[in-house]
């Protein structure tokens, strides 16, 4: 009667074994952590004896995924920044003004003298000397518009022009505003990531939140103030003349020159004149584009001063390469094809579309594109985190033992079966947490403790049901079978509703609450699995061996 096919038995034990195996690295947390760090370091910058030793500390064939510890457990800094995306509109308008002025000056006869007047932020207001020329002026300014390169905004242009009396008003189009916002955030993320990566802490979290916010969590940083200082530093972008190219790291650059590594080509170095032609502060925009031959390229634009310097330099140096240098690394060294007047140019090279997008981001990433306000700042000291881990671990162990004893006392042998399942349950939970790389927070530990308490529920439901069925059913085997069968609907209903709550917590919550939702949800999955399959399998295996005439639950 109590038959479980062999393949099913094998499958159940395989799942359990996989869960336990995945959980194993967490038992040797610090050893596995240094193993992982060493593996990463060797991949990046070669092996050293210490790294080899750390790598050997954990066998490579075993899984090495760990449960990440949240900031509240590890200590570190947390910032939520709001990016003022509108700042960029204003910059764009400022950059556009010289072009508008030049274009209108050429039509002076029709539109009269023009001057810029103050308008709301993000709008360019131009007063025309001759209002009758408005139609012509609008036409001329519209010619300056560039088509937007984006997936959604096909056919749209970047600026909108309207006239009010003698005022010509230029604004960014809605599609362009959205595209700009997206770029601004992406750019800010990129800069922040570069800044934070420079200090080389382990696993910083830098992610977009909502439309205009960025969440930054860095374990191990002393304080939020320190982190803010780090992010606030601007990157230095320069355009410099190139003397030559080499692949020897120690080559002597010669007087007045410097030797700089290439950003993306391993082992390639450039000899650069130590003279800045134009610097990144004078760049107003850079965007991915395509050249005349349809190959990916990057468009960029300087402000008027930068444009003049750049124009003069390119006129004198056609055919020579110049280097785009970011923080002491050469991003690329294109050859100047022609004189580039007007301050906008195009960088071509052997780019893929992704690379050109990346380069545009990097170019713009010189300085933070817009101001940021910090909406949330949290610093958690490492000692406090350590205390929380210790307190949480102690509570877990005590809770665990209490539940084990309670179950054994209440249900005897069956209670011990449930206890084995509970042990496996917790192991599998840690295994799953490691596998998906979830972050364990302090409320997450509470979630685990709560799961320990609630995990026995499914078993209790079954055991109580078996007790009842024992009174009516013909023999223990039938009682066990009926117990499982009839308790199933209650188990499923009860756990589905709790799972719904966990899912809502996960979608709506943030930070620590999310960590709690994850452990709660995983706990539900593993506890239902262990109750329905594992305990049952243990019980059936025992029953097959012992063949008891009667059972006492």
């Amino acid at each position: 009667m109590l038959h479980i096919p062999t393949w099913k038995r094998a499958l159940i034990w395989a799942v359990v074994a996989a869960g336990v195996l995945l959980a194993l690295p967490n038992v040797f947390y610090s050893r596995v952590e240094s193993h992982n760090d060493a593996a990463r370091a060797i991949e990046q910058s070669g092996a050293t004896p210490e790294r080899e030793a750390a790598l050997a500390g954990w066998p490579g064939f075993l899984p090495s995924g760990l449960v990440n510890l949240g900031l509240d457990l590890r200590g570190g800094a947390h910032l939520l920044a709001e990016v003022h995306v509108e700042d960029v509109y204003e910059d764009r308008m400022r950059g556009l003004w010289p072009d508008v002025r030049n274009a209108l000056r050429a039509e002076r006869d029709a539109v009269g003298p023009v001057r810029r007047v103050d308008g709301p932020a993000g709008e360019l207001h131009v007063r025309l000397g001759n209002p009758e020329g408005m139609a012509r002026a609008m036409e001329v300014v519209r010619d300056l518009a560039r088509p937007i390169v984006s997936l959604t905004g096909v056919g749209a242009s970047d600026i909108e022009v309207r006239g009010e009396g003698d005022l010509l008003i230029v604004t960014l189009s809605e599609a362009e505003q959205q595209a700009t916002d997206r770029r601004t955030i992406q750019q800010s993320l990129e800069i922040i990531r570069r800044r934070v990566d420079e200090v080389g802490t382990r696993e910083p979290t830098i992610q977009r939140q909502g439309d205009t916010r960025i969440l930054i969590q860095v374990p191990g940083v002393g304080s939020a103030a320190e982190l803010k200082a780090l992010i606030g530093t601007t990157a230095r972008l320069t355009f410099q003349p190139v003397v030559g190219r080499t692949d020897t790291a120690g080559a002597a650059p010669g007087a007045g020159n410097v030797l700089l590594p290439s950003l993306d080509e391993q082992g390639v170095f450039y000899i650069i004149e130590d003279r800045v032609v134009v610097s990144g502060e004078e760049l107003t925009d850079a965007q991915p584009a395509f050249d005349q031959n349809g190959r990916p390229a990057v468009n960029f634009r300087f402000n008027p001063t930068g444009a003049r310097k750049f124009g003069d330099y390119t006129a004198e140096n056609i055919g020579n390469p110049f280097a785009i240098v970011l923080d002491g690394e050469v991003i690329s060294a294109p050859v100047i094809q022609s004189h580039i007047p007007g301050g906008s140019g195009i960088i071509t090279g052997r780019f893929s579309v992704e690379e050109s997008t990346q380069l545009a981001v990097l170019l713009r990433a010189g300085a933070l594109p817009a101001e940021m306000t910090f909406l949330e700042e949290r610093t958690i000291g490492p000692e406090l985190g350590q205390d929380s881990i210790e307190a949480g671990a102690l509570a877990c162990i005590v809770a665990f033992c209490a539940v084990l004893v309670f179950m054994a006392l209440s249900y005897g042998l069956f209670g011990i079966f449930a206890n084995i399942a509970l042990l496996l349950n917790v192991a599998m939970m840690f295994g799953l947490l490691s596998m998906i790389g979830a972050t364990l927070t302090l409320p997450g530990i509470a979630g685990i403790v709560l799961t320990i308490g609630m995990a026995v529920d499914a078993n209790v439901l079954v055991f109580e049901r078996i007790r009842e069925e024992m009174r009516t059913a013909r023999g223990p085997a039938r009682a066990i079978e009926l117990g499982y069968e009839r308790a199933l609907s209650a188990i499923l209903d009860a756990n589905v509703t709790t799972f719904l709550v966990a899912a809502i917590l996960f979608t709506m919550g943030s930070g620590p609450v999310r960590g709690f939702a994850v452990t709660l949800a995983l706990g539900i999955i593993t506890s239902v699995f262990t109750a329905i399959y594992v305990t049952r399998l243990i019980m059936v295996t025992w029953f097959d061996r012992a063949r008891p005439k009667t059972i006492e639950v």
Binding site: D72, L80, E82, S223, A224, T373, F374, L375, E376, E377, R378, T379, I380, G381, E383, L384, D387, S388, A391, G392, A395, V398, A399, A402, V403, F406, L409, S410, Y411, P443, I445, A446, V449, L450, G453, V456, D457, V460, L461, E464, R467, R486, L488, S489, A490, D493, A494, V496, T497, T498, L500, V501, I504, L505, M508, G509, P512, V513, F516, L520
Partner: protein
């Protein structure tokens, strides 16, 4: 020797005094609402904005001296509380300092915090700052909103699920029980002025999850018994169902409470409010699944004749896995 918290066969009459139990629940809910209105909640910085600084020192905490050091900085309302915990020991003295959100600033600026830290360190050189957290009013407003939405959506989904699996009367009973639990929990937070923050919302949602779990298990048995004993009066079927599942109810609440009490005592002060909320909720939730949910189903009545085809109307998924 087997531990039995509940005798093997019980036939307690749970619904004899249902006017009293309903009355107690209504009074408790009304009292909680009044307390909530009158005393308000002690919102943490997640919900009201501001800064908390946690200090630790081997020297004793002198709240008056701390206040004397911070007041000259002119930061408005400053609350200083000493934190006690059985795990601390005499060498560890902890205080929480709470600064209000500053005018015109999204989060309290690093300079302000540095000033406060300097002022306190002048008082006690060994003082360390275990954590500094600052939340701006803009974010805190949004956090309140999304927290309320989370609780609302959770209740709605649960109601729909129970309606699909059972009958609408059950859904009403279950959700009334949830409101009862959540409001009582908020009431106790208000009375004891325990800090109410994001983690508390998570605790409330956990209470919802646990309470519904409990309610559903008894409902499940009730549904089964309603089919088995078609002519028995509803109140007797209910009593039977509750008695049959009593042992399970006590066992599960017992193990969960055991685990939570361990966490409450040993888990440290940082999450004590959170754990307290859940512990309280489990007790109230167990009570409400026995009384509030069942009293309401009893009041509303249930369609009894399950044999007719149209009886399947509200339970088309009920047999999916039974």
């Amino acid at each position: 020797m087997r531990l039995r918290l509940v005798p093997q066969d019980t036939s307690y009459d749970f619904f004899r005094y249902r006017t009293i139990t309903s009355g107690i629940s209504i009074v408790a809910v009304v009292l909680s609402l009044i307390v909530w209105m009158v005393m308000g909640l002690n919102f943490g910085i997640d919900f009201s904005g501001g800064t908390t600084i946690r200090t630790e020192s081997p020297a004793a905490v002198d709240v008056g001296a701390y206040r004397g050091a911070i007041d000259p900085l002119g930061l408005g309302d400053v609350r200083i509380t000493e934190v006690f915990d059985p795990t601390f020991g005499p060498e560890r003295n902890v205080a929480m300092i709470r600064l209000q959100a500053q005018e015109g600033q999204e989060s309290v600026s690093a300079e302000t915090i540095a000033e406060v830290e300097a002022a306190l360190q002048a008082l006690d050189q060994q003082l360390t700052f275990a954590s500094v957290e600052s939340v701006g009013p803009k974010v805190s407003g949004e956090l309140v909103r999304s927290a309320l939405i989370a609780v609302g959506v959770a209740m709605l989904l649960i109601m729909v699920y129970i309606w699909l699996r059972f009958e609408w009367q059950f859904a009403v009973g279950a959700v009334a029980a949830l409101f009862h639990d959540v409001i009582l929990a908020i009431g106790i937070f208000s009375v004891l002025q325990i800090r109410f923050d994001l983690a508390t919302i998570a605790a409330l949602l956990t209470i919802i999850g646990y309470s519904i779990n409990d309610t559903v298990v008894i409902f499940d048995r009730l549904r089964e018994n309603l089919r088995k004993f078609k002519t028995m009066p509803l109140v007797d079927v209910m009593n039977l169902s509750v008695n049959e599942t009593l042992s399970r109810t006590v066992m599960t609440s017992g193990t969960t409470l055991l685990a939570l009490i361990a966490l409450l005592v040993l888990g440290g002060d940082v999450i004590r409010g959170f754990v307290f909320a859940i512990t309280f909720g489990i007790v109230v939730g167990t009570y409400s699944s026995l009384y509030v949910a069942k009293n309401i189903v009893l009041q509303l009545g249930v369609k009894r004749d399950w044999s007719k085809p149209d009886a399947e109307a509200g339970t088309q998924f009920g047999d999916a896995d039974a």
